[in-house]
């Protein structure tokens, strides 16, 4: 018996006794049907879910890793990854704040996150974790009263199979591209949101608590459904930097807005970007897609991307319902050796559909940034409009910025407008700010925040303040 088989056998023994010892559970290295069955099994998933995964895996086997993107990366050995890893055992975690990387603490301090919060973010203090759970529960009562479902997707698969079955994979099918399909096969957990007809969700929903409590892995799956006439604002990620050993993050996020519904999805992404020399860091290859399924529906993506070694994502809107609206507001910042190839796709299918794209790219150090966007207005999408504004700000002489818009307009009654600018923070501007008492980093923060203002304004208030600070911190050391 080879080692891998032995491991699987061991795990098979495990599966009945895992509940008390879940922290040590890990699927064997590599990707195959057994591993997928293992994941499905450990999550006690119904048969249809396993079929969904296996179907995706069949498809995955014939797909090739895409290579058209600008940032190149070393070949990933998909057989050398763990596809399921339960939360790290407590003994591997730092026991107290003293054991944390001082640099990390310093960053927290700058972000203004109180110490207890820091402890919670790193899963150190148990009471703090309990604390956050109880906070979440208080909210949950209020949400339940209105019929809102907000839970881990693994829970939704058990408790709301009719909704999951109907919508999971309806925007990102199992036959989609390489990374999305991989996610469909092996996703571990993520969030599920359902807002019933006519309900306006009374608070911002956030993955903040849950993710920190459960240490979700590299393959998240999020599904948000806004039923007729409902509204929800959802915040993803936390603004504190996360040290993460995982190299590849390939999450799938699906949004569905029915008639007259609106979904606002905001992300502040601050994964580990690698060190100053470009070593380490996360590959953030996320697939995010929203379907404006009903008439008069609206989906709005706002993203602030400051982390990751490579960011490669295009949060998109499919405007199927007549009069539906898609928006994309983005700030992407790359520093040192970071690379980003990001933008959006606006697919206009319904009549009178509108889309708006505001993209602000900032590159510093030796980094490289590409805005890539597609506006596709089909022949039936009569009287549709798109407005795209794409601005790049360069700092120094070693970074790069590229704008790659793809525009397809298949009917003459629609209108597409595209504006792009590239500017540079000049020595003179810096000198002027310094003469007025600002140090170079404060000066850059002020100028960059001014540049990003239109997008920052889209974020919920609290988030905006943190994002603003984050923007300054991300560019630290990029001056002079």
């Amino acid at each position: 018996m080879d080692n891998r088989q032995k491991e699987i056998n061991n795990l098979k023994d495990y599966k009945y006794g895992f509940s008390t010892d879940i922290e040590n559970i890990q699927a064997p290295k590599g990707l195959n049907e057994d591993v997928i069955k293992f994941i499905s099994n450990i999550k006690k998933e119904p048969e249809w879910m396993l079929e969904f995964r296996l179907k995706a895996f069949e498809r995955f086997k014939v797909l090739k890793e895409p290579d058209w993107q600008k940032p190149k990366f070393p070949k990933i050995d998909y057989q050398d990854l763990y596809y399921y890893s339960a939360p790290k055992s407590m003994k591997d975690k730092p026991k107290s704040l003293d054991e944390l990387d001082p640099k990390l603490l310093e960053t927290y301090k700058k972000l203004g996150i109180p110490l207890q919060e820091q402890a919670r973010l790193n899963g150190i203090a148990v009471d703090a974790v309990f604390d956050s759970v109880s906070v979440a529960t208080t909210f949950k009562d209020e949400l339940t009263k209105q019929g809102i479902i907000f839970c881990p997707i693994s829970e939704a698969i058990q408790n709301h199979p009719e909704l999951v079955k109907k919508y999971l994979g309806s925007v990102i099918p199992t036959s989609d591209h390489f990374f999305a399909t991989l996610n469909s096969a092996v996703f571990t957990d993520g969030s599920f949101v359902y807002i019933p007809e006519g309900v306006r969700c009374p608070m911002e929903l956030s993955t903040y608590f849950r993710i920190n409590a459960s240490n979700t892995g590299q393959f998240e799956r999020t599904l948000i459904i806004a039923d007729k006439g409902s509204y929800v604002s959802y915040l993803e990620g936390c603004t504190a930097p996360m040290r993460d050993e995982n190299q590849l993050h390939a999450a799938n996020v699906e949004l569905i807005a029915l008639d007259d519904a609106e979904i606002k999805y905001s992300t502040v992404q601050n994964w580990y970007p690698g060190d100053k020399d470009g070593k380490g860091g996360i590959y953030n290859f996320v697939t995010k897609r929203g379907l404006c399924k009903g008439k008069n529906s609206k989906i709005s993506w706002t993203q602030v991307e400051t982390g990751s070694a490579i960011t490669w994502k295009y949060p998109s809107c499919i405007l199927k319902g007549d009069n539906s609206v898609g928006e994309f507001y983005s700030i992407a910042i790359t520093n040192n050796h970071q690379k980003a190839d990001t933008g959006t796709k606006m697919i206009h299918l319904g009549k009178n559909t509108k889309s708006k794209i505001i993209s602000k790219g900032i590159s510093a150090g030796s980094s490289d940034m590409t805005y890539r966007g597609l506006v596709d207005i089909s022949s039936k999408a009569k009287n549709s409009t798109n407005y795209t504004q794409c601005d790049s700000l360069l700092m120094g002489n070693k970074c790069g910025a590229h704008t790659v818009p793809y525009i397809k307009n298949k009917n003459s009654e629609s209108n597409i407008a595209h504006e792009a600018t590239t500017s540079k923070i000049s020595e003179e501007q810096l000198h002027y700010c310094q003469q007025r008492g600002l140090n170079p980093e404060e000066a850059v923060g002020l100028i960059v925040n001014g540049f990003c203002k239109e997008v920052l304004q889209q974020l919920p208030m609290e988030f905006a303040v943190e994002a603003q600070k984050l923007v300054g911190i991300s560019l630290e050391g990029s001056v002079g």
Binding site: E428, C433, E442, N449
Partner: protein, 244 residues
């Protein structure tokens, strides 16, 4: 307050200042006049801390070696430069810029930072004094401002930051007579026994409104003649050529 001793400066191997000496005591107003290319702007650039020059000699500000201080530290210590060409910073709201600047300076001086309400009250007051269009405060910094508005904005900032030494680099150029008076008023309001001014100008005109204690003629990178206010009038009559 400011002691410049044998200051030499070169940029791109071109010598601009050649042994410039100047002493400014608290409460004094000095005017430096000189033809194009005599080194006037280089002097203000160097005093403010602009990079790119090779310098030798000595500059002391309140007994401290100025070359040891970063640009922003000089600002904190009370050196203000009204720029000849104030910079435009797209996206940055003028009010936010002024508040950030004022609070950075206040913080460095160990004074309490102003909150939004306190700041707005102060900036409103000062704008009124200087007849600076308040509506401009909500615009992007200097973007779309006329030449005169940019210069008034400089004086507004000077009056907010209340510096000890204000250097006005050709603030009068491009100003109509009304704006010129307003700028002069701004300077005269701030003028007292502790605050000093270094006014760099081509023309005598501004000095009708801001009466200097001393006038210096700068030629080829050094001061060739110093005198009282009358020297400016003499220059206006005879031109610079006679000083060569």
């Amino acid at each position: 307050m400011l002691k410049i001793n044998n200051l030499n400066a070169t940029i791109d191997n071109k010598s601009i200042l050649n042994g410039l000496c100047l002493d400014i005591n608290p409460g004094e107003v000095h005017a430096i006049m000189g033809p194009n290319g005599s080194g006037k702007s280089t002097l203000s650039n160097i005093l403010s801390g602009k990079k790119g020059y090779e310098v030798s000699g000595e500059v002391l500000f309140e007994e401290k070696d100025l070359f040891e201080l970063e640009t922003e530290e000089r600002a904190h210590k009370g050196i203000f430069l009204a720029f000849q060409y104030p910079l435009e910073i797209p996206g940055v709201n003028t009010n936010i810029f002024l508040k950030t600047s004022l609070n950075a300076v206040r913080k460095a001086r160990g004074e309490k930072e102003l909150d939004a309400i306190e700041f707005l009250k102060l900036v409103k007051e000062k704008s009124k004094e200087l007849k600076f269009d308040e509506e401009k405060l909500n615009r992007q910094l200097n973007v779309g401002f006329s030449g005169g508005e940019k210069k008034k904005n400089e004086i507004l900032q000077m009056s907010l930051l209340a510096p000890k030494l204000s250097i006005l680099d050709e603030t009068d150029s491009g100003l109509d007579i009304d704006a010129l008076k307003i700028v002069a008023d701004g300077v005269n309001t701030l003028r007292d026994k502790n605050n000093s001014f270094l006014i760099i100008t081509h023309y005598q005109r501004l000095l009708d409104y801001i009466k200097p204690d001393f006038v210096h003629v700068l030629m080829n990178g050094k001061i060739v003649k110093s005198g009282g206010p009358d020297l400016a009038l003499e220059l206006e009559k005879k031109g610079y050529e006679n000083f060569n």
